[in-house]
């Protein structure tokens, strides 16, 4: 937009807006070091809650489940979604517009509706709820997001490079592997990152498709927040924020390094 520096009131306003966004997170982190159990008033600095966190079996199990589900669902969704994006961007086939609409449906329906519909589905076919149903559900909402991101990145794709590869002696498979895939890889990784995040974070759909024994980190956090209020949650939150921050920062640096 304009190169003129924005007005002063705008700068002040934005500063306070960002403050609004970050104060809760900072409060969270600070109070994770609080000795006082009811974390209302600041009493003293301690790391005891972090200790509790690392020995909390339920949390550890939940973390392991969450990571596993996220990785598997991301992998599957990325493959299916990338194939779909390629299909929609480069080919014409019967049911094209139906497929396109179908792709958008999971994005526009409210999560709670998707959650209960999957619950009804699994119960009807007598599929026991558990980690598998969670993973299947995560794939379902991840595929459209991956397809959307990859498709957007496919927009500027110069088809001539695929033709050039074939012209130079590469058959269709080799062309895809040596030329097409490397070229769209940034988009595919973008989509995969999005899918990973959506899966790691998901609460609503996981809530409805999880069995009694299976727990993921968001589910665990929710029940802790609802019922067991100790600063352990703060410790968990602080760690989570820190890890995300580090990952994102690395991503930013890698991106700017490549440019």
């Amino acid at each position: 937009m304009s190169e003129k520096k924005p007005a002063l009131w705008l700068r002040i306003y934005t500063f306070f807006a960002y403050l609004f966004i970050y104060v809760p997170i900072l409060v969270l982190i600070i109070f994770s070091f609080n000795t006082q159990k009811l974390n209302i008033r600041w009493e003293g600095f301690t790391l005891v809650w972090y200790n509790v966190l690392f020995h909390d079996q339920q949390i550890l199990l939940a973390t392991r489940n969450t990571l596993m589900i996220a990785l598997i669902s991301t992998l599957v969704a990325t493959v299916i979604g990338t194939m779909a994006a390629l299909a929609m961007q480069r080919y014409r086939f019967p049911l094209y517009s139906t497929s396109e609409t179908l792709m958008y449906v999971p994005i526009v329906i409210p999560e709670v509706v998707m959650g209960i519909s999957l619950l009804v589905f699994f119960v009807l076919i007598k599929f026991t709820l558990g980690l598998v149903t969670i993973t299947l559900s995560h794939i379902a909402f991840n595929v459209p997001f991956v397809a959307l991101v990859v498709r957007a990145r496919l927009h500027g794709y110069d088809n001539a490079i695929d033709e050039a590869a074939m012209d130079l002696g590469a058959n269709e498979l080799t062309t895809f592997w040596r030329v097409t895939l490397p070229t769209i890889m940034p988009g595919v990784l973008s989509g995969a990152m999005l899918a990973l995040t959506l899966s790691l974070d998901d609460y609503v759909i996981t809530y409805f498709t999880a069995g009694p024994g299976s727990t993921t980190l968001p589910l665990r956090v929710y029940s802790m927040v609802r019922f067991v209020v100790t600063p352990e949650i703060n410790a968990l939150s602080a760690l989570w924020v820190l890890i995300i921050f580090v990952i994102l920062a690395i991503g930013q640096v890698a991106q700017s390094r490549r440019a």
Partner: protein
């Protein structure tokens, strides 16, 4: 199974479906033969079918009917990676995730050429396009002209029988284009393989080619060398597309072995010219007269240089003149309001203003019969 010709089209037709549900005939019964070692160009406006023809040779499209024959072998539906031709693309199509060396080496890798030989041949290819030390650069770091050369090197390193070039100079600025035209021509003569070139720029085609196929609306209207195409176009489109010309319309009055008289439409007179193609008496024709091929004379014969009794004579008035230096370009108005252009070479250096035409001068326009081409409206 070798034939005399390296590429042949046998009555090739290509029809595409349109998004609205209809069809468009991109290539309409084209037959031609391209000789080994030629620089052959497909020339025509956009949509004429030249690029489609090229793509059918490369293997990116298959003929709807007819045959594309390369090196004596019918190509049918053989995919591009099994054909002995290579393409230089209009957008260069360099692989962005590879550096220059890897781009050029790609084709050799596909042939499973051993590494040492790849290194040698890629080096040679880079030298040939005068970019010897650019091997480690990425395409993003290259200018348009450099990218174009890399695209060329990448195709040539495979030593194909035929090199296909799809408007490769389109994205370059004028000066660079003219340089590259000469370089490409020199390269082709040096390497000795057949170059098949697609362009919409007739000057480019005339400069570089041994033979040109002029195309319009899917048909190959005329195939011949630059001189033949320019001096003896076989139809109105070709005369119009190549160079500049004036057209007078009329109907054929009499036919002789090679000469024809035409009753002109708007002017109340006849004109005699050379005929092109099969014409019949009474047929509507276009008479093509190139501006540089007329002689002007004013009423006191001061400016005329040569006259012959057999020349056609028209009368007109000067409307505007433009002094270009090497010649003077004159716009004339004939009877009936018709306009005509004439270019008079300024062969004698003089400052005498009377030696140059000015607006309002009445002139006689002498057109030698052999410079008057009587053309059918369409090539048959």
């Amino acid at each position: 199974m070798k034939s005399d010709f390296v590429v042949e089209f046998h009555d090739v037709v290509k029809i595409f479906p349109t998004p609205e549900g209809g069809t468009v005939t991109a290539v309409d019964h084209v037959s031609l033969e391209i000789k080994q070692g030629e620089f052959f160009s497909f020339l025509g406006p956009s949509g004429c079918g030249k690029t489609t023809s090229l793509r059918m040779m490369a293997g990116f499209e298959w003929p709807t009917s007819g045959e594309v024959v390369i090196d004596g072998k019918v190509m049918g539906r053989i995919p591009p990676y099994l054909r002995p031709v290579n393409t230089v693309f209009q957008s260069y199509a360099l692989f962005q995730h590879m550096n220059v060396f890897q781009n050029i080496a790609f084709g050799l890798e596909m042939e499973k050429v051993p590494k040492a030989e790849i290194n040698r041949r890629v080096g040679e290819a880079l030298e040939m396009v005068k970019l010897g030390n650019m091997g480690r650069r990425t395409p993003k770091q290259l200018s348009g002209g450099q990218q174009q050369r890399i695209a060329l090197a990448r195709a040539l390193v495979k030593r194909p029988e035929v090199l296909l070039l799809d408007e490769p100079l389109g994205a370059l600025d004028l000066k660079l284009r003219k340089e590259m035209q000469l370089e490409l021509k020199a390269l082709q003569e040096q390497v000795g393989i057949t170059f098949i070139y697609v362009t919409h720029d007739q000057e480019e085609a005339l400069t570089m080619s041994n033979r040109i196929a002029v195309m319009s609306k899917g048909k190959a209207l005329q195939i011949g060398g630059a001189v033949e195409i320019y001096e003896r176009p076989n139809c109105r489109f070709v005369a119009d597309f190549i160079g500049e010309t004036n057209f007078l319309t009329g109907k054929i009055k009499t036919l002789a072995k090679d000469q024809v008289t035409v009753q002109l439409d708007s002017l109340n007179q006849e004109i005699t010219g050379i005929r092109q193609g099969n014409l019949v008496v009474g047929q509507a024709v276009a008479v093509s007269i190139r501006p540089e091929k007329v002689r002007l004379a004013d009423d006191d014969n001061k400016k005329v240089r040569e006259l012959r009794g057999t020349d056609n004579l028209l009368r007109g008035k000067v409307v505007t003149t433009a002094y270009i230096g090497s010649d003077t370009r004159v716009v004339l108005e004939l009877q009936g309001g018709l306009r005509m252009r004439a270019w008079e070479q300024n062969a004698i250096s003089t400052l005498d203003p009377d030696a140059y035409y000015s607006a309002g001068d009445a002139v006689r326009i002498y057109i030698p019969v052999e410079n008057t081409l009587v053309l059918p409206e369409d090539a048959s």
